[in-house]
């Protein structure tokens, strides 16, 4: 591109101004990248939720327990392929800030329900053979350097203050990039025997697989109807809605993220716009010289747009790069945001925003340059 040094030279003309503008664009895009990763962490689970799974919880709240006996009744409801239960264990490993979820499950049926958890067959066999056996996800295993064969002590304030000791028999991986591999699962039979008398036979919530995802809504109604007027009425939702419900407790995250970013980008638009219009205003005479030499209006329009787009793409690219590096290091909170990552879609959107920023801030100065009457411009020199 033979015009490159003309465009580059103009950008480098006021180094301090260009650097400051670049930095503000960069900061905006770092912020964009990190907010996208946070948003992904909070609501990304919705997209990963199984379309054929329903979650059944107590109608009053998720904290209220349901009878274990519901499982058999659910499996008899038309349209239900399988049902498994989970229970919030709420245990603490060494320190409350080492948070990760634990739940007692019935191993074989549970792993069938959630095929996104990949456990090697021999580890599955070991789990079935070990009453105190537990499996943890890759994320948590890496975080605490757990190895198979470790004894993991967990305090449970909910199920009796005593320390529960589990034997780590397996580490599962996620089938997809975004799959949450932070939870620890252990055997329900061991849990049920060992817990205090008052809780026996009660579980936290159920996951149901429906035979036909298209029928999910009807099946959900049937399930809730089945347990109507019983002491423990239920509320059944698609898994996506269930995850969304969690996310919604933190407010409408997407909206908050969008409004913060809108404010940031509006500011950046003003900053870059003023840089560009100044850059063109202070060289109207030079633009006149270029026109006198024979450069066309279209070429000058192109030069100014190229300059603004280069500025925005450079700042945006560096910002997105930094945000990506940051996100690639994984969850910055050490467990609160297991799905924290910058998705390719958000990266592409970021580049598109940078390009839009370049075009929008360049177009008006570029039109000024283009409409400049050459004889008038030369008088200004």
């Amino acid at each position: 591109m033979k015009f490159a040094h003309l465009i580059w030279g103009n950008l480098a003309r006021k180094k301090l101004r260009t650097t400051l503008t670049l930095l503000s664009i960069l900061v905006a895009f770092v912020l964009y990248g990190i907010l996208c990763a946070v948003k992904q962490a909070l609501i990304g689970g919705v997209a990963l939720a199984g379309a054929d799974r329903l979650i059944v919880r107590h109608k009053v709240s998720i904290i209220q327990l349901l009878p274990e006996s519901y499982q058999a009744r659910m499996e008899k409801i038309p349209g239900v392929a399988a049902a498994v239960h989970q229970t919030w264990f709420g245990g603490i490993y060494q320190d409350p800030k080492n948070f990760f979820m634990q739940s007692p499950v019935v191993p074989e049926e549970f792993m069938r329900m959630f095929p996104e958890f990949l456990l090697p067959p021999e580890q599955m066999k070991a789990w079935l053979a070990t009453r105190t056996g537990a499996v943890v996800g890759r994320n948590t295993a890496d975080r605490f350097q757990f190895k198979i064969g470790d004894k993991i002590p967990i305090q449970s304030p909910i199920w009796g203050q005593k320390t529960w000791e589990f034997d780590l028999v397996g580490i599962y991986d996620g089938a997809k990039k975004g799959t949450d591999t932070t939870a620890m699962f252990f055997r329900y039979d061991f849990f049920n025997e060992s817990r205090a008398e008052r809780g026996k036979g009660l579980v936290g919530w159920y996951a149901i697989r429906v035979k036909d995802p298209a029928q999910a809504a009807e099946v959900a109604q049937r399930v809730d109807a089945e347990f109507e007027n019983s002491p423990a009425e239920t509320r059944t939702e698609p898994e996506g809605a269930f995850v969304q419900g969690f996310a919604n407790q933190m407010g409408n995250i997407a909206l908050i993220v969008a409004s913060i970013l809108a404010a940031v980008f509006f500011t950046i638009l003003l900053v870059t716009g003023s840089t560009m219009s100044q850059a063109v205003r202070e060289r109207l005479g030079e633009l006149g010289v270029l026109k006198a030499i024979g450069f066309t209006n279209g070429q000058l329009l192109g030069f100014v747009l190229a300059e603004s787009c280069l500025l925005a793409l450079l700042g945006g690219g560096l910002g997105l790069g930094l945000a990506w590096l940051f996100a690639a290091r994984g969850d910055p909170t050490g467990g609160m945001l297991p799905l924290f990552h910058l998705s390719t879609g958000d990266l592409v959107t970021g580049v598109a925003i940078a390009l839009g920023l370049g075009l929008l801030t360049g177009i008006f100065p570029a039109l000024t340059a283009m409409r400049l009457h050459v004889a008038d411009a030369l008088r200004r020199m």
């Binding site: 033979k2 003309r13 024979g294 450069f295």
Partner: protein
């Protein structure tokens, strides 16, 4: 008005040209019923008091502006009828400009400044470099090729400006007070250079100047007063 005709048809023919600018409701008449021809190979000096319309006339010859009335013909082409876009292409092919304030692009070094008009041609990078080197050698600045305008004296900058003006070998070289901002010595060097270009390369030059010393170098001098040609002298 009678013009000295060298061999056959003139290179520039200005016929019945009128030019006024509209400033609000006011019409500012700058050129009135002006006729002028420039023969190929001529070195014409345009003189006259400030505001007499010299730059306006030069702009019309160089296709930077169009007359309100009348015709401007350069090398057989009616340039007063060309569109903006056509004029830009026409200037790139036919005209080299030299300005009073040199008007180099400050962010480009000497050779990049000289190269600018060549960017509008189909020449390759290597061919452009050859032309640039030749033009810089002609103005005696080969050793300053990599230097930026702000590190050069006014006279050197103007020589770079001339190199830029002639690098495409244009039909016409138009200079608007090329020595107006230089001291006598640097000004003389520029005039020597223009004279040599005219004599040795046969370049046709139209030069606006206030300076009788400068116009003495030209082969013909035309005086403008209030937009009209009042006298001319042939050397």
């Amino acid at each position: 008005m009678s013009q000295p005709q060298s061999n056959g048809s003139p290179l520039v023919r200005i016929d019945g040209v009128e030019k006024y600018f509209q400033r609000g409701a006011e019409k500012i008449h700058v050129l009135a019923e002006l006729n002028l021809t420039v023969a190929p190979g001529e070195f014409l000096a345009l003189m006259g008091p400030s505001g007499s319309g010299k730059s306006t006339l030069l702009n019309l010859i160089g296709g930077l502006d169009r007359p309100t009335k009348g015709t401007v013909t350069v090398a057989g082409e009616r340039i007063d009828q060309l569109s903006d876009r056509q004029l830009a292409d026409w200037r790139a092919r036919h005209i080299g400009f030299v300005f009073q304030l040199y008007n180099l692009i400050p962010v480009l070094n000497a050779e990049r400044n000289v190269e600018l008009p060549l960017l509008l041609t189909h020449l390759t990078g290597a061919q452009r470099a050859k032309h640039v080197a030749a033009a810089l050698a002609l103005v005696g600045l080969s050793h300053r090729a990599k230097h930026f305008p702000r590190t050069m004296s006014g006279g050197e900058q103007q020589r770079v400006g001339i190199a830029r003006g002639i690098v495409t070998d244009p039909t016409l070289l138009l200079c608007d007070e090329p020595t107006g901002d230089l001291d006598r010595k640097a000004g003389d060097e520029i005039l020597d250079l223009l004279g040599a270009l005219n004599r040795e390369q046969g370049k046709t030059i139209v030069m606006v100047t206030h300076d009788p010393h400068a116009s003495a170098r030209a082969s013909r001098t035309v005086h403008l007063f209030k937009g009209q040609i009042t006298s001319e002298a042939v050397k």
